[in-house]
Structure formats: structure tokens, C-alpha cells
Amino acid sequence: MADKDTRRRRVGEAGVVLGFLALAGLVFQQTRTSFVEQGAASGGAMYNAALFPELLGWSLLLLAAIQVFRLLRPGGQPAADPPQLAGVAAPEDTGDRRSLRQALVCLALFVVYLLLLRPVGYHLATPVFMAACYYVLGTRNIVVALLLAIATSLAMSFVFEYWMNVILPVGRFGIGF
């Protein structure tokens, strides 16, 4: 089990390092195409917009290489410390499938909410999103979830729309304060 976890973590670590390498690659791809087309990839420091990003790109490549070396060297396994939650506490049961499912459902709800926020508007989309979140996270009484959702949505809209004069998305129905 521990071996499986270590292997999974090693694969994850390798994936993150690949992400860094891809980012460095993207930097060089851009400085050699888009920057060149704009005539901003050569010359002195004044005119060379690629100078600093390329320096960062090379540094990133070097550091990523060090990470790759650490991952590949025999016995050089990645630190298996649990992630720090703002340095406060390590998760006790991150492997718990129910919690993970809840987190993923909330994430999906969040994505749907962002997609609907502008077309539907804050005052319709937010209570529904909040009620769904409360329900998924464990408030099983739908009436309570709805009341909590409406109260928090209105309180937030009072602070931002009424007090700070922020125009929140009104949507196609034009609902706003």
C-alpha cells in the first residue's frame, strides 16, 4: 500500500515537473515566434522584451532538471509529507472517497455557476449554487439549505451592490439592485 502511494506520489511529482518544463518550453516558443514577429526579441535591454522571460525560462529549466535528477536518483524518493493546509493541519482522511466526491461535485457546481453567472445573473444563479453547495456539503434539509443560500446571497449583494456600488451581473432578466 505504502509502495503504491509512493509510486503514485512519484508519478504526480513527475507530472508537476513536466508542467514546469512545458512552461519553460512555452516561454521559448513565444520568444522565438510572437516576440520575433513584433521585433522585440533582440537588441539591447531597452528593446529586447524577451531578455528577462528567457532568463527566467533558463532558470526554470535548470531547476526542473535538478528536480528530475532528484526524482531519478536511486533512493531519491519525494518527500511523502502530507500537504499543509495553510500550515495548520494535515488532512486526516484525504483518501476518503466521500469527501473527495463532495469536493469534485462542488468543483463541478462552481464551474457551472461561473458559466451561468453572466447569462442568468447573480440574483438567480447564486442562491441556486449556494443551496446546491450547502446540500452537497451536508445540509440535507432542503428548506434550511435554501434559506441559508438566500440569506448569504442577499447579505453579500447588500455589501457589494448597496454599500460598495458594485454592479453584479444582472443577466438576461435584468435583475439587480
Binding site: L56, C106, V111, L117
Partner: protein, 500 residues
């Protein structure tokens, strides 16, 4: 100079609005600090969008008060539940919780609040007198020295942080790369914009920070489980008499505060190191060291005065040099830039009233901390009963509306979500998040001074070595990286040298 700024800032700060917002910020900070898993950084991140709509000094006053209140609030949950509300209070539970177990929770909380306020005030004195001096020195710095300083700021944070240095540096570089997105400051060129009009101005720093810290934290909190758990906590009232105990320990307060200020001003060190160090020092010099860990009030005095004094210390390089010491001060610095004031020596030259207003807000926040902290302890204890399942949707909604409010842009919300995912991955694989924020904040200053240096020297890189101050700062950075990156055996010669 120090008094001039205070007099100039009085007009901006002593308004009912600014005072009220500072008090409100302190109260909010205490509440956020009390709740385990949140903390001053989260409070500042969530309320930064609100601060941008306020007059600059009032807005900054509110954020600084959240910083002060949040740094102290963690002690309440540490004492009552043995769960530090913030990492800053981790050392406080060593004696605070045993005191509570002996039925002395009101006294422990009273001591924690009063020691925090006193430590914070001492930090304020150093902030007021040291930062103008530091800014004055920095006025003589040219672009090469500034470039070297920004690098040192980033390097020290990654070197001192508990995670791997190479990981910290990689994250910091990503932050700097993100800061290059948009229109180049020198040449008329668009960088990494991918023909998207929303990317022309780069990513919104608030959207990035909220995503990185708040969204990823909420996801992890759900994943962690225990959403329905309700803390069994006794509602107590802090004791006013505890102030006498704190005052009688004035030597401990002063010593621990000085430790806090030192570690606060040192980029990357921060309050956690400060509070554990001051605890260790207090125990080492005590006549009864064996009582530490069993409920000795001196332990609470030491840790709490240190971690709040640290706030003042952290603000010294942030305001005077534009070098933030940690993620919290980086976000504060970002907020100050967003309201139109760039930290550094020019701020002290051109906007002395704003500097004075910030100093006064910091001092007032510590006074409010003392009064509100003692008065509202029963409420903070009740807040500990809030279940995560109720808190998480509220924090998420506040993140969304706060980020949207800044520019009325849904693109920023997607940026926030993307950085939330990035923050989650980084946390999962022990990549520190703070260097990304610091890299993003320092990136433009670093690049600007790097290229200006080269323009001054006609593209001769020797300028960074020829100037002694710049060369020294760069050498310190290089040495710090080498000492942490190179394998121990490669540094054998150094150790042998030390032994000789």
C-alpha cells in the same frame, strides 16, 4: 521624519470612517484568526477587493487591522481547543491549553490578547522609526542594487521556508513569469497574451491570490472531511486582570517583541519561527523552566508578543524597500499598489501622509485588538462552533464576488479558478505558494531594474559585479541558494573550514 509622517497622516486616518474600518478589520481579523484553517492571509485576500473601493488609508487600515487581529485570533482556539487557529499560534498552545485545562482559560486568553497588543505596539514603534531610516538608505540605491534586493527578497523566502528550496525557486520564477504577461514596460510589445484582449494587462493579482490560497484551501478542506464536526467549546470571558500579569512580565514582552520584530523584518522567517524562538528563549532564561509546557503564563506572553510584534517587523521592509517578507505582506503590498501607491523610498518621499496614515492604522489596530479582543472573547468562542459545511460556501461566494467586483470581469473568475487548481497541485506536492505571490509582485520591479541597469551600462553585465553593494547582495543570494541546493557532501570543504 517619523513624527512628520504621523502628523501628516493624522488628517487621513483620524476620520470616523477610517477608525471604524480599522476597528471592523481588527474584529474580522480576530474572527478569521479564531477559525482553524483560515488566518490573516486569507482574511486580507478575501477583503482586498472591498478595500479597493475605500479611501486608500481607510482601506489599508482595514487590511492591516485584519493582519493584526488575525495574527492574535489564533490563540483563542489554541487555548480552548488545542487547535491553533493559525500556525502563528502553534507555540501558544504549549502553555495556553494546559492553563485552560486547569480552569484558567479566561486568564490565558486575557494574557494572549494583551501580550499580542503590547508586542504589536512595540513592533509599531520600530516600524515608525526604522522604516523611514531604511527608506532613506534605499534612496541612494540605483537600479542594480534594487535588482539585487528583489532577488534577495525572493531567494530568502524560498531558502528559509520549510519546503525544498528548488521547489520554492521554481514557484517564484513562475510568479515572475506571470508578471511578464501583457504589455512590455520598455518596448512596445505584447508578451504571452495569445491575442486575448483580457490578457493585455496581465492577470489580476487579486484573482490569482484568491484562487491560489482561498479556493485551493476550500477544496482541501472539503477533501479533508469533518464538515459536520462541531467543536465542543466552553464559552468564556477573557479576564481583564490578566493584563496585570502581562505587564508584570514586561521583560519577557520586550525581549519576545524584539525577537518578533527581527524575524518579521527578515524576509521569509515570519511569525511561526519568531514565536517558537521567543518561547525557547523565555524558557532558557526562566528560573523555573520545568513549568513551561504545564501552563506557565510566561509561555503565552512570549509567543503572543513575538508573533504580533512580527507584523510590525514584516511591514518595515515591505514599506521601506518594497520587499515583502511573506505572502501576507506581499498581498498587502499588492493592495497598496492597486490603490495607487508604490511602496519603497519614493512613498516616503512623495506620500508621507499615506505612510503616516498606515503607521497610525497599525498602532490603532493594536489598541483595538486589546479592547475588542478582551470584550468579544465569548463571541469568538461561539464562532468556533460554526461547522465547516456552513463556512465553506460563504468563503467561496465571497471569493467570487470579491474578485468580480474589482473589474467586473468574468475572465478574472476563470483566472481565479485556474489558480485554485494550481494552488491545489502545489500544495499536494509540497510546493510553497508564497513565492509565487512574491514573484508576481516583485517581478515587474526586478525586471524594470534589471533592464534599467543594463541600459545604464550599455548592456554590460559587469555593472552587477562592479558595484560593491549590488555584488554583495547578489553574493549573499548565490551563497544562500548554494548552501541549500547543493548536496551536503559538496559543502564538505566549508564545514572543514568551519572546524578549522
Amino acid at each position: 521624519m517619523a513624527f512628520d509622517s504621523l502628523i501628516a497622516g493624522a488628517g487621513l486616518f483620524f476620520t470616523p470612517y477610517a477608525l471604524l474600518l480599522t476597528a471592523a478589520g481588527c474584529l474580522l481579523g480576530l474572527v478569521i484568526g479564531v477559525l482553524p484553517g483560515l488566518g490573516p492571509l486569507m482574511g486580507i485576500i478575501l477583503l482586498t477587493p472591498v478595500a479597493l473601493y475605500l479611501p486608500p488609508v481607510a482601506g489599508m487600515g482595514m487590511l492591516i487591522a485584519i493582519f493584526v487581529g488575525g495574527s492574535a485570533g489564533g490563540a483563542v482556539s489554541a487555548i480552548l481547543l488545542r487547535i491553533p487557529g493559525t500556525p502563528l499560534a502553534a507555540a501558544t498552545l504549549l502553555d495556553g491549553y494546559p492553563m485552560a485545562q486547569k480552569g484558567r482559560a479566561p486568564e490565558a486568553i486575557g494574557i494572549a490578547i494583551s501580550a499580542s497588543a503590547l508586542g504589536g505596539l512595540l513592533g509599531g514603534v520600530f516600524l515608525i522609526f526604522l522604516s523611514p531610516l531604511l527608506a532613506d538608505v534605499a534612496l541612494r540605491f540605483g537600479p542594480p542594487e534594487y535588482f539585487a534586493l528583489t532577488l534577495l527578497g525572493l531567494v530568502s523566502i524560498t531558502v528559509i521556508s520549510k519546503e525544498s528550496t528548488s521547489k520554492g525557486l521554481m514557484v517564484g520564477i513562475v510568479g515572475m513569469l506571470i508578471s511578464t504577461i501583457g504589455m512590455d514596460q520598455f518596448a512596445s510589445a505584447y508578451r504571452f497574451t495569445f491575442d486575448l484582449p483580457q490578457m493585455l494587462g496581465g492577470f489580476n493579482i487579486v484573482a490569482m491570490v484568491v484562487g491560489l490560497f482561498a479556493l485551493s484551501e476550500m477544496f482541501l478542506q472539503i477533501e479533508q472531511g469533518g464538515l459536520d464536526r462541531r467543536s465542543k467549546v466552553e464559552v468564556v470571558r477573557a479576564s481583564w486582570r490578566a493584563i496585570g500579569t502581562t505587564l508584570r512580565s514586561w521583560v519577557n514582552v520586550v525581549r519576545s517583541s524584539l525577537i518578533g520584530i527581527f524575524f518579521g523584518a527578515l524576509p521569509g522567517a515570519g511569525g511561526v519561527i519568531a514565536s517558537f524562538t521567543s518561547y525557547a528563549v523565555a524558557k532558557a532564561v526562566a528560573r523555573d523552566p520545568e513549568t513551561y509546557g504545564t501552563g506557565n503564563p510566561e509561555g503565552v506572553v512570549a509567543t503572543e508578543s513575538a508573533n504580533n510584534a512580527c507584523c510590525g517587523g514584516t511591514l518595515i521592509p515591505t514599506l521601506a524597500l518594497a520587499i515583502p517578507g511573506d505572502a501576507t505582506s506581499a498581498v498587502l503590498m499588492g493592495a497598496l499598489i492597486l490603490v495607487g501607491f508604490f511602496p519603497g523610498p519614493e512613498l516616503f518621499e512623495n506620500h508621507v501622509d499615506v505612510v503616516g496614515g498606515i503607521f497610525l492604522a497599525y498602532i490603532a489596530a493594536n489598541v483595538f485588538l486589546f479592547v475588542l479582543g478582551i470584550l468579544f472573547t465569548p463571541i469568538f468562542a461561539s464562532i468556533l462552533k460554526i461547522r465547516k459545511k456552513h463556512l465553506i460556501p460563504i468563503v467561496t461566494l465571497l471569493s467570487v464576488i470579491g474578485v468580480y467586483a474589482i473589474q467586473g470581469s468574468t475572465f478574472d473568475l476563470w483566472v481565479m479558478l485556474a489558480f485554485g487548481g494550481l494552488g491545489y497541485v502545489f500544495r499536494r506536492f509540497d510546493y510553497p505558494l508564497a513565492p509565487l505571490v512574491i514573484g508576481a509582485v516583485l517581478g515587474p520591479i526586478c525586471e524594470n531594474n534589471f533592464r534599467r541597469s543594463l541600459v545604464l551600462s550599455a548592456d554590460d553585465y559587469g555593472i552587477f559585479i562592479d558595484r560593491p553593494i549590488c555584488a554583495t547582495i547578489l553574493a549573499i543570494s548565490a551563497l544562500a541558494i548554494a548552501l541549500t541546493l547543493l548536496p551536503a557532501r559538496s559543502l564538505g570543504w566549508l564545514k572543514r573550514g568551519e572546524a578549522a
